[in-house]
Structures are given as C-alpha cells and as structure tokens.
C-alpha cells in the first residue's frame, strides 16, 4: 500500500478574520476561496501541504495549520476529502 499523504487541519477563526483575501491570493496550494460576499473560506483543506505561509501572512492571526491526527486523516479519506 502506498504511504498515506500527510494531512493538515486548517482552522480559520471567523471572529478574528476580516476577509482581506490575502490567504486566498497567496496560498501556493489554493486551499482558500472567496465566498459570494467575499468571505474567506477553507475550500480545499485536503490540498494543504502544511507550508504555513498563510499563517505567517494573515494580518489578523486568524489562521492555524496543524498536522492532522491519524484518526482525523482517516476520517478525511473516508469522506472523500
């Protein structure tokens, strides 16, 4: 069996985020998307490579990226993520 790809949890703190769009514009893996009202959304968590660049550049400290625990990663796979 092929070695499982590392999974990451991308947490966006809605209460701190101001929808500036910096994460949407600069994530190299295009994990984020702007919603209908321009709100920042974590659209493709499964594509996150864990580079942390969104965490460093978010002006509102609203993002956290952590490696998923094995059970969280397994759940993401079952759900087709």
């Amino acid at each position: 069996m092929a070695k499982a790809k590392k999974r990451f949890r991308v947490t966006l703190n809605r209460a701190w985020c101001k929808d500036c769009g910096i994460c949407v514009a600069f994530c190299p893996a295009k994990v984020f998307e702007a919603g209908e009202r321009g709100e920042a959304l974590v659209a493709r968590e499964e594509d996150c490579t864990g580079c942390q660049s969104c965490v460093l550049r978010c002006p509102d400290l609203a993002l956290e990226v952590e490696e998923a625990t094995p059970s969280q990663a397994a759940e993401a796979v079952t759900h087709g993520g």
Binding site: K18, I22, P59, D60, L61
Partner: protein, 280 residues
C-alpha cells in the same frame, strides 16, 4: 512558550483595518520572542501613539504606552537603569522618524541596547493618511494630493550612519525573513533597528492606486530585493525597488557596557576624569 502564549487573546480581534500590515508584524514579533524563549517578566514593550503604537495592547509582557514620538526616549531610560531587560520600541514611521527622528539618531549614536521595530507604512495611519518623513517623493497622501514634494528618509541608512549596531529591513510579505531578523536584532547587545515596510491599504494604498490588501502584498513582493542581489542591479533597475535583509551595523560596545565601566570607575573613586574607552 509558544507565540500564542505572548498574545493577549482577550483583546482580540485586532483593532487595525482589514489588510493592515501591523498584525503580520505583531505575529512575527511574538514568534521571535517564543524562539528566543524570552520571559514575559523580563521583556518590556514600549510604544508611542499611532496605529502600530497600539501593538502593546496585544502583547503579554510588561509595557509602557508613551506619547507620540517618545517611545525611544522612554525605552532608553528603561534600558539604562536596568540593562538586564529586553527592551523593544514599537513605532510607526511618524513616531520613529518624523516627530521622533531626533530620538532615533541619538539612540543609535548612544548604541543603547534597545530593538526598534518600525512599521513603515509610508504615512500617518491613525490621523488619516498625512505624509510623513518616509513618504516617497511624488506619492499622494491626504496632505499631498498632487504628489509629495519632499523625499523620504532611508531609515536603515540613517540609523546605520548614526551608529546603530544592527540595521535590517523586511516587508510584511516576507514574514519568515522578518521573524529571523527580529531574532537577530533582539539578540544584539547594542541598538538595533528593524524597518518593516507595511501595508496601510485604507490610506496609502487608496491614495496611490493599490487599495486591495492582496495587491499591496504583491507590491511588496515585487519591490523588495535581497540585499546581495540589489547591489548588483543597474541604476535604472533600482528605481522603485529597495534592499531587504541585514543591511549594516557596527560592533562598537553597547551603552550599558560602557556605562558599567564608568560606574565601576566612579565607585572606585578613580578621580574626576575617567577613561571610559574610545569609540572606534
């Protein structure tokens, strides 16, 4: 401790505008403190007045919120009487270089062991986007609608020429570089200055055709050039660009080291005239 342990979470969300660079600098500073394992009790953050001057509201160390332009004067006093403390002065370009320019050159000349972190957003954010002593010639602001007739200071060259032990520059786009420059600066025994080119999308950006936060980040990405590469650019390629990284400094003894010798001599009753060592 982790970076978040230095953050006053109860004070969040940040008071700054959408896309303002100040939060990126704040976060880099918290990570630098965590990397150095600085104790909250032995760290003092000094601010003046301005948008970036609100940074101390979010940092769980000792802090003094002073008056506009005087953060470095206050920080100098703190460090002089208690050289064991880690002292940071967080200032906007107005605070540090416009009203506070005199304190900047003397802090550098004295080589006092303070780290100055300047959020240079090229204008006065808090009071509505007026031009400051770092606004580039020709740039628009609320007080230079037809272009700034003055030219801006190069803060790194200014502080370097005045005798700072370490001068460095980053931008809010280059957040990882910023973190490591802050680690270097805070570890430096003499006066260090880290200039951070920062976004004020609502004033500087709006007046100069880049009101979008991501577009301002792109602008920093494109304008900043690593110092070694910048030196090789032809004069026309340097137009609108600036170097980033460690840009200079001198290894003169820090004020506290010299002053300790003066104190020793005075306590030993060495007479009226004290040979405290020469500068260079």
């Amino acid at each position: 401790m982790k970076a978040r342990d230095y953050l006053i979470e109860e004070a969040m969300p940040l008071f700054w505008c959408r896309g303002c660079g100040n939060g990126i600098i704040l976060h880099a500073l918290l990570r630098a403190l965590a990397r150095l394992g600085k104790s909250r009790e032995e760290t003092v953050v000094v601010t003046g007045i301005g948008c970036f001057g609100k940074a101390d509201d979010y940092i769980r160390t000792h802090s003094i919120h002073g008056t506009h332009g005087r953060a470095l004067a206050i920080a100098t006093g703190v460090k002089a009487v208690n050289p064991g403390l880690t002292v940071l002065a967080l200032m906007g370009d107005g605070d540090c270089a416009t009203i506070g320019g005199n304190h900047l050159i003397h802090a550098a000349r004295r080589n006092i062991g303070v780290t100055a972190v300047v959020a240079n957003n090229l204008n006065y954010g808090m009071t509505g986007g007026q031009f400051s002593a770092t606004t580039p010639q020709g740039a628009r602001s609320s007080t230079s609608s037809f272009g700034n007739p003055e030219s801006g200071f190069d803060l790194c060259r200014l502080a370097g020429a005045a005798g700072a032990a370490l001068v460095a520059r980053a931008t809010v786009y280059h957040a990882a570089l910023l973190e490591s420059l802050l680690v270097e600066a805070i570890s430096c025994p003499g006066f260090s200055l880290v200039e951070v080119m920062s976004s004020c999308p609502v004033y500087y950006g709006r007046y100069n055709g880049i009101p979008d936060p991501a577009a301002m980040m792109r602008w920093w990405q494109e304008s900043a050039v690593p110092a070694s590469r910048y030196a090789e650019l032809a004069p026309e390629e340097k137009q609108g660009r600036f170097p980033i990284g460690r840009l200079g400094g001198s290894d003169r003894p820090a004020f506290s080291e010299r002053y300790a010798r003066v104190q020793e001599a005075a306590q030993a009753g060495a007479g009226r005239w004290i040979q405290a060592g020469t500068d260079r």
